[in-house]
């Protein structure tokens, strides 16, 4: 098992009450497993089933395996400009 740290922004940071969270998952966890774990956290139930997850600034697909050394971030729908 490995600790995965995930950065949170805007509404997702508000929902989970923090700008980052850490979850313990198998070393070869996928994006879907990470998101399922985040949705179990207090306040996480309002996260969408398939949020925009990025690893080192690049979008991650649902089945992709995660690298706990990479920078993971969960992005709400974008609203810049």
């Amino acid at each position: 098992m490995t600790t995965f740290r995930v950065l949170l922004f805007a509404r997702y940071a508000e929902l989970l009450g923090s700008e980052w969270v850490e979850v313990l998952l198998p070393d070869d966890a996928t994006a879907t497993e990470l998101i399922d774990a985040l949705r179990q956290l207090p306040g996480g139930a309002l996260l969408p089933a398939s949020p925009f997850l990025v690893m080192n600034h690049t979008q991650v697909s649902a089945t992709q395996r995660l690298d706990s050394a990479a920078e993971l971030a969960l992005l709400p729908p974008l609203a810049g400009g």
Binding site: A10, E14, L15, V54, H57, A73, A79, G80, G81
Partner: protein, 147 residues
């Protein structure tokens, strides 16, 4: 160079950045905070960003636009509180001819809106606060009730 700025945005330095004697056309876009959104009177709004990724995506957008069009691009986006009437984003495009400048300008602002990890929280005159979310019904999501 940073694309994200705290405080008022200025057009003049961006114009200077793309100006050169062989460029005959400069087109600009200023996105200003409007006084109404989603049927409510806006008091102010506040932008936040995933800053390192946002800076990288801005640079990618500029590089892609300068590869796709014969243009030079300069842009900045504001972070933090922005009062009604002030600029949230400025895009400036210089080119030899105006067609490419207009095409690139539209492309860049669409890319900024679609790809840069920036978020917007609106405060209405009636006191309500919302997250702007183009995917939500009505385009907004209320903030959680305060405890």
């Amino acid at each position: 160079m940073s694309f994200l700025r705290i405080g008022p945005l200025l057009l003049a330095p961006l114009l200077e950045a793309v100006r050169s004697p062989e460029r005959g056309a400069i087109a600009t876009f200023s996105g200003l905070v409007r006084n109404h959104h989603a049927g409510s009177a806006v008091q102010s709004l506040s932008y936040s960003a995933y800053q390192p990724m946002a800076e990288a995506v801005f640079q990618t957008i500029v590089s892609e636009a300068e590869a796709a069009f014969p243009v030079r691009i300069a842009l900045v986006h504001r972070l933090g509180e922005v009062p009604v009437g002030e600029a949230a984003v400025l895009v400036v495009v210089g080119s030899a001819h105006r067609g490419a400048a207009f095409d690139a300008l539209r492309w860049v602002i669409d890319a900024v809106k679609g790809r840069v990890p920036i978020w917007k929280r609106e405060r209405y005159v009636d006191g309500r606060e919302v997250w702007v979310d183009p995917t939500a019904p009505g385009g907004i999501v209320p903030l959680k009730e305060r405890l």
